[in-house]
């Protein structure tokens, strides 16, 4: 009975065309919509309001006037940003560090995954995996302590070794020359275990019969790795790499802010877009520059991610994001 009544009501409504389809759906699936409501609110405040707020990059933000009443200044903030050296430095650092991280993830992590898979003793292999996955669980604050224990100028472990070898102490936190290497090493330390486990999961899924057939044909294990594991892993490497390329304009704030202890003398090689925006917003209070740099990052980032995804979809439809 109830069903029939509903249908009639529905038809009558359609007939009168007073209620749009959306409202009808809303009433019909009110429980489902209610379930989504908290999530929608979170998306609104965390994502959609800030997306609209991005226009602040075109205003001369004034704390006293607030968001709405601050004056529009067109591209003024961008002109300042791109006339300073900072724009070039932060773009260069952001991209170069990401390129290094991507290459390491596609080589070291892949090699590690293959080794995990080859080791004869399964239990030992699991043990190594467990230990190398551990750094992923540590926050950048904790990692900055670990790095400090190694690099502290007067008490650090590494300077201790240098002194024992009869060499001079190095004041690590003020020497820009070392930081590109340190940053890359620390990032590798934190992420390689994690990345290798993703690759390992793919390798474990490969059909064992290929290897058996190759062994029957007299291929050595090394040849099998070269001719079977590696080619089969190639699409996974390509896709994961392209996903990372899509994020080439974004970095991990903690790595560049905490691990470097926000040390001024090394800004030239450690300043990336995230740290620049943060310092402009919270330390120098230059909202215009901060929001212009943020806008620049968001827009170029979008273009890069769309391009990367387009390439992924050409190679492998399955793994493209959309």
């Amino acid at each position: 009975m109830a069903e029939i009544q509903k249908v009639t009501v529905g038809k009558a409504v359609t007939g009168r065309r007073t209620r749009p389809a959306f409202i009808r759906e809303l009433i019909k699936n009110k429980v489902l919509f209610l379930m989504m409501l908290p999530g929608l609110l979170v998306l609104l405040v965390n994502n959609y309001l800030p997306m609209l707020g991005i226009v602040i990059a075109f205003k001369d933000y004034n704390y006293a006037k607030g968001f709405w009443k601050s004056d529009w200044v067109g591209f003024e903030n961008f002109r300042y940003l791109f006339n300073s050296n900072a724009a070039f430095t932060i773009t260069r650092n952001t991209i170069l560090y990401n390129v290094a991280f991507i290459i390491i993830a596609a080589t070291v992590a892949v090699a590690l995954a293959i080794i995990f898979n080859e080791l004869l003793n399964r239990k030992l292999s699991k043990f190594y995996q467990g230990i190398m996955f551990l750094p992923y669980f540590l926050s950048w604050v904790v990692i900055s302590y670990l790095v400090f224990a190694l690099l502290s100028s007067d008490m650090g472990f590494i300077n201790g070794i240098l002194v024992k070898l009869g060499k001079e102490r190095i004041n690590w936190y003020v020497e820009p020359a070392f930081w590109p290497l340190i940053i890359v090493l620390v990032n590798t330390w934190k992420w390689t275990g994690y990345d290798s486990i993703i690759y390992l999961a793919a390798i474990i899924g490969f059909d064992k019969s290929y290897y058996e057939a190759a062994a029957v044909d007299g291929a050595t294990r090394f040849q099998q790795i070269k001719m079977i594991t590696f080619p089969m892993l190639m699409p996974v490497i390509t896709v994961l790499t392209l996903i990372k390329v899509g994020r080439i304009f974004f970095t991990d704030f903690g790595l560049f802010y905490n691990v470097t202890r926000n040390s001024g003398p090394i800004y030239d090689v450690t300043n990336v877009i995230e740290t620049y925006v943060f310092r402009a917003l919270r330390q120098t209070g230059d909202v215009g520059m901060a929001s212009a740099a943020g806008f620049y990052q968001a827009v170029i980032g979008l273009i890069v991610v769309l391009t990367a995804n387009y390439i992924v979809s050409k190679i492998d439809k399955e793994n493209s994001l959309f």
Partner: protein, 308 residues
């Protein structure tokens, strides 16, 4: 079968590497493992070393003179540590539970094939992965619109909806929960919400556990939200206390000559060993819980493509 095969060395297994290669690889792996734990060992060893020994010889791998003074020092000021622990625990538990509920309740409707607007609402989540307003407008929404700086909400709200987790959970619902079960529940007269709670959620336990653990890790390790939004010391969490102690010591050691009463302030601050003991206190629970969660994380990482 395989084991029997291995026991007869006459038949060499050509799908395995040689003993010699295995030995070499094990050596490489042991070196990598040492590189992974070495910094942790130095921090641990420093935390249980006598303060004067550390100032004299620096941080070392093995404690020259064992002393638990650093831990005693921290626990003397126990209220600070306890409060920070309390904030971290509260935010981790409440945040993770809220997050997992919100994500599941959002992911379920957009996984239902009979829900007309599922694509639009999926896209709304997906779009946030491609484009975001960045730090400045986000910060202003929290501070100038919601006015939640210096409240516990500022620590919870930022991580409630990670778009990737919503999409992973949606994929899980689509692939692992048969439509026929939901249909059967409907015929039995169960309401939508009842079906979700009684039928869908119990079937989704593996994905709930994995995403729940990722959330726990995010909240436990967070220092970014307090850095941006918290100035009230009562709301400092464990990570942020560590962040601050570090900065305070750095500031004082850089400016020691310019501050007259620097020595006096230094005396009140956690010393070298206490700083490392603090790190151990924050890492401790993760290292202890690690063997239990590791399995779920690995499963979570391999939970499959996010495309639906």
């Amino acid at each position: 079968m395989e084991k029997v095969f291995n026991k007869k060395p006459i038949f060499k297994d050509y799908t395995k590497i040689s003993k010699k290669a295995d030995f070499m690889l094990n050596i490489i792996m042991i070196l990598c493992t040492i590189a992974c734990v070495l910094p942790l060992l130095i921090v641990f060893s420093t935390s249980i070393t006598d303060e004067k020994t550390v100032t004299l010889y620096g941080y070392s791998l093995l404690p020259r003179k064992i002393s638990f003074e650093a831990y005693k020092y921290i626990f003397k000021d126990i209220m600070v540590v306890l409060r920070a622990y309390g904030v971290t625990l509260f935010v981790t538990i409440v945040g993770s539970l809220m997050s997992i509920s919100i994500i599941a309740m959002y992911a379920y409707p957009i996984s239902r094939k009979d829900f007309k607007y599922r694509n639009i609402f999926t896209f709304m989540v997906f779009l946030t992965m491609l484009f975001n307003g960045g730090l400045v407008p986000w910060y202003m929404v929290y501070v100038n619109v919601l006015h939640i700086q210096d409240t516990i909400f500022a620590l919870i709200l930022p991580y409630l909806m990670t778009p990737l987790y919503v999409l992973i959970m949606r994929t899980f619902f689509i692939t692992s929960i048969p439509d026929s079960i939901i249909e059967a529940a409907r015929i039995d007269g169960a309401g939508e919400f009842q079906t979700f709670i009684r039928i869908v959620l119990p079937l989704a336990k593996p994905v709930l556990a994995t995403i729940g653990l990722f959330n726990v890790l995010t909240y436990w390790n967070d220092w970014y939200a307090p850095l941006l939004f918290i100035t009230d010391e009562k709301l400092f969490n464990l990570q942020y206390i560590m962040f601050r102690v570090d900065k305070a010591i750095l500031y004082l050691s850089n400016n020691a000559s310019s501050i007259n009463n620097a020595t006096q302030i230094m005396a009140n601050l956690p010393s070298q060993t206490a700083r490392m003991a603090m790190a151990m206190i924050a890492i401790g629970p993760i290292v202890f819980a690690y063997p239990f969660f590791q399995k779920y994380f690995v499963e979570g990482l391999t939970i499959g493509s996010i495309k639906g």
